[in-house]
Structure formats: structure tokens, C-alpha cells
């Protein structure tokens, strides 16, 4: 596609998209994509690719596999676009959920899971890339850094092993050698604190 054509199609999509009243621009793009508008979907990709790939890469680790999963996530987003409901959360939130779920599906095969358990048990916490490090190196997002800093080390560890390590809370309990109930509490308390710090509204 030439640059001119792309520009034209963007304009066309933007025009189509604005005709849907009362939702934010991502929701409008997704609605247009849900009606088969590929150019709108391309714009959506431009907005969301970094979010999706960032999540997938942290969970899957292997760059070439992560790239495959990121592609799968967007194909799924395309397929499901006609079914998006705002009552289920914002487009960003929904997309992040799809991305994480896909990444987890990729790593949670039995063998992969065993390997991760061994890796995370052997190398923890150095081998597990810390959320804090990611934030430091990739973006100076002060709010997220502050929110993470407000967790206790054990809350943070439990949340990271679950979300980025891709472990179930039962696996986290084994890794940390603490009771399952303790891990559940750390995860819950940690998420509540993050939510309160980030003031995230869906």
C-alpha cells in the first residue's frame, strides 16, 4: 500500500469511526474494526502493539515466540472485535487481558511449566525479571513505580511470580515454600494496594 493510500484509508476510518458517538477513540476504532474495517484495525494495532508485546514478552521471554504470540493476540482481537462489550472494561484493559491469557496459554504447557518452576526456583529472584526493573529501564512512569514501591517485598514477589512468571498461586506457594492461603492473601493485598495507588478505573 502506498503512503497516500494508507493516509486516505486512515482518514476514511477516522471518519467512519467518529460516527459512533459517546465512546473513547479506542472503543470507536474497535467498533469500526468489528464491522470489518481493516484500516481502523491497523490504527488500533498502532495504539496497542506496545502494550500487548510488552506483556507477552515479559511472560514468554523468548523473543521469537513472543512475536508469534503477539500476532495471535491481535488476530484474536480481530476475530472477537464484533463481540467487545464496554461493560467488560475498557479496550486497553480487555486487550491486556487477552494478551496475558494468550501468553499464559503458551507457557503453561506441562513441560514448559516444569521448566519455569525449575528456573524460578533455582534463580529467584535474580532470574525473574523484576517489574521494578522493567519500569526503570523502559519508561519513567512515576505512578507505576510509586505504586509498585508501596507493596511489601513479599506482596510484590507473589504478584510478579504470578503475573510475569505465569505461575498459578499454588505454584507460587511451592516456589516460595509458604502456604497457599498466604500466597492468596499476598496476591490479593498486593493487587488492592496497586489498584488504590494507581487509582485505576476500568
Amino acid at each position: 500500500m502506498t503512503k497516500e493510500m494508507r493516509a486516505f484509508r486512515r482518514l476514511h476510518s477516522a471518519a467512519t469511526a467518529t460516527s459512533v458517538a459517546g465512546s473513547d477513540s479506542l472503543a470507536r476504532l474497535l467498533a469500526a474494526a468489528g464491522r470489518g474495517d481493516q484500516a481502523a484495525f491497523g490504527m488500533l494495532y498502532d495504539e496497542l502493539a506496545g502494550l500487548v508485546h510488552g506483556i507477552v514478552l515479559r511472560v514468554v521471554r523468548d523473543p521469537s515466540q513472543a512475536e508469534e504470540v503477539t500476532q495471535e493476540v491481535f488476530v484474536e482481537l480481530w476475530r472477537l472485535a464484533p463481540r467487545y462489550e464496554e461493560s467488560r472494561g475498557s479496550v486497553k484493559s480487555w486487550t491486556a487481558t487477552l494478551a496475558h491469557r494468550r501468553a499464559i496459554d503458551r507457557v503453561r504447557s506441562e513441560q514448559a511449566s516444569r521448566n519455569r518452576m525449575e528456573r524460578d526456583a533455582a534463580g529467584r529472584p535474580g532470574e525473574v525479571e523484576s517489574v521494578g526493573d522493567i519500569v526503570e529501564t523502559s519508561l519513567d512512569n512515576a505512578r507505576v513505580r510509586r505504586a509498585l514501591g508501596s507493596l511489601t517485598p513479599s506482596q510484590r514477589e507473589a504478584v510478579e511470580l504470578a503475573y510475569f512468571g505465569g505461575h498459578t498461586y499454588r505454584e507460587v506457594a511451592v516456589l516460595l515454600q509458604v502456604p497457599e492461603g498466604t500466597v492468596k492473601s499476598r496476591i490479593r493485598d498486593g493487587m488492592i494496594r496497586l489498584r488504590d495507588e494507581l487509582g485505576a478505573s476500568s
Binding site: Q38, R88, S93, K184, L198
Partner: protein, 241 residues
């Protein structure tokens, strides 16, 4: 095993995808109708999305072109039909009082059909099954809405934990020569055939059903007599699970 109290505390682990498959299924059956948990899930997911944004990483530049080519060859799913499902997340669990009142009405209907002549074992079994479903703490009463001018009324009492549902319909028109009503369990993967439904001559129907999976909606279509693996007819009744 999770107790009923525990389940409201699983939203954070669920949002992190940190439940095993069984717990995930149990929680997914629970949270859409739970005011507390559906709120928590939305907020935790938004929190994680905000964290994800802080670690955003652009994928390799050539991915875009490959993706755009693939979606050009990929069929999209049909939209979920408007109506009941739009209120799924917002819908509140019926209060105990409403549930009890509705249960009493349903029981009366069930027992009436038992008392008035069609007194087969089937009717007795149905009344017992209905009673059993309604006794479950997660029992849901669902009215399937007629999507066009079709007459008749279809109600479903359903418990995810009991894996059981009781379906009551009245005033159904005959399905037509060589045709039958078919009930569909609709989940994220699309509609799955549940049961062929053959109303009595007076248009009434009482059926108990074994329900596995986590429906998002229930639907009824008219299909060829032998049933179809996927719906071919229009959805004539539809309700949020």
C-alpha cells in the same frame, strides 16, 4: 476445596491468570453475577493494563504487515445479539426474597403440571430436579426473551455448581413439519447444542438438563427434526446466563 466465602477473594488471582483450570471455571461461573467480584475483576484488570503500559515494548516493525495480511484472511465472529447479554456484567444477583418468590412460582408451575393429569414419573422427576436446582446457593432464574413476535414463554432455572438446569416453557407454537426446537448453550466458543425440545400438544415443556461448561447466553432455534451441530435457524428465544 473452595468454600463459598473463599470464592469472593479470588478476583485478584483470577485477574492475574493465577488460578488453575478448575478454579478458573468455578470463578467464571460465579463472578459475572456477583456485584463484588465483577467490580473487582474490572478494577484489577484495569490496574494490570496500567502497569502493562508502563512496560510497553514495540514489537518488530515487520509484524504489522504480516498481521494485516493474516486478518485479511481471517473471518470475524458474529456479534452477540443485543439485549439481555448487554446487562450481564451490571446485572445483580436477585435478592433472596425475589429468588424465593420466583422459586415458589416455579415450583407451583412444576407441581401443577404434576397434579394436572400428565402425572408421569417424568413430571415427578422434573419437580424434584427443579426443587434441587433452586436449593443451590448459586441458582439463577433466567427468562429467555422472544426475539421476534414468537409467542410463548421460556424460563430456565440453572445452577452451575450442580451442573443442572430445569427448563419450563409454555405457549410454544408447533415447530413445524419435520422441525424441532433446539436449545443452545452459548459460551465464548460459540453455541453448543444442548437438547432437542418437543413441546406437548398444549405448547408446554418441562425438561431437566445436565449443564457442563460456562454459558454466557442460552438460545433456542428451530432446526430440522434430527437437530443440528450448529444453529441454522434464527434465534427465537435468547437469555443471558
Amino acid at each position: 476445596m473452595s468454600t463459598n466465602l473463599d470464592i469472593h477473594h479470588l478476583a485478584a488471582a483470577y485477574a492475574l491468570d493465577a488460578l488453575d483450570a478448575r478454579e478458573r471455571a468455578v470463578f467464571e461461573a460465579h463472578y459475572p453475577a456477583c456485584v463484588i467480584c465483577s467490580h473487582d475483576v474490572r478494577e484489577f484488570r484495569a490496574t494490570l493494563a496500567a502497569m502493562g503500559e508502563a512496560s510497553a515494548t514495540p514489537p518488530p516493525a515487520d509484524l504489522r504487515a504480516r498481521l494485516m495480511q493474516e486478518i485479511g484472511e481471517t473471518r470475524q465472529l458474529s456479534p452477540l445479539l443485543p439485549g439481555p447479554v448487554a446487562h450481564l456484567a451490571a446485572r445483580r444477583r436477585p435478592s433472596a426474597l425475589v429468588l424465593a418468590a420466583a422459586a415458589a412460582v416455579l415450583l407451583l408451575i412444576g407441581l401443577a403440571s404434576f397434579a394436572f393429569g400428565r402425572s408421569s414419573n417424568d413430571d415427578r422427576t422434573f419437580a424434584d430436579a427443579l426443587d434441587h436446582v433452586l436449593a443451590q446457593p448459586d441458582a439463577r432464574l433466567i427468562e429467555l426473551t422472544a426475539t421476534d413476535g414468537t409467542g410463548g414463554r421460556v424460563q430456565l432455572a440453572w445452577s452451575a455448581t450442580a451442573h443442572q438446569a430445569a427448563l419450563l416453557a409454555d405457549g410454544l407454537a408447533p415447530a413445524g413439519e419435520g422441525m424441532a426446537y433446539e436449545l443452545w448453550l452459548i459460551d465464548a466458543g460459540g453455541p453448543a447444542p444442548m437438547r432437542l425440545l418437543d413441546p406437548a400438544a398444549d405448547g408446554s415443556l418441562r425438561r431437566t438438563l445436565t449443564v457442563d461448561g460456562t454459558p454466557v447466553q442460552w438460545g433456542i432455534t428451530i432446526e430440522p427434526r434430527g437437530g443440528s451441530p450448529a444453529p441454522t435457524g434464527d434465534v427465537i428465544f435468547l437469555g443471558a446466563a
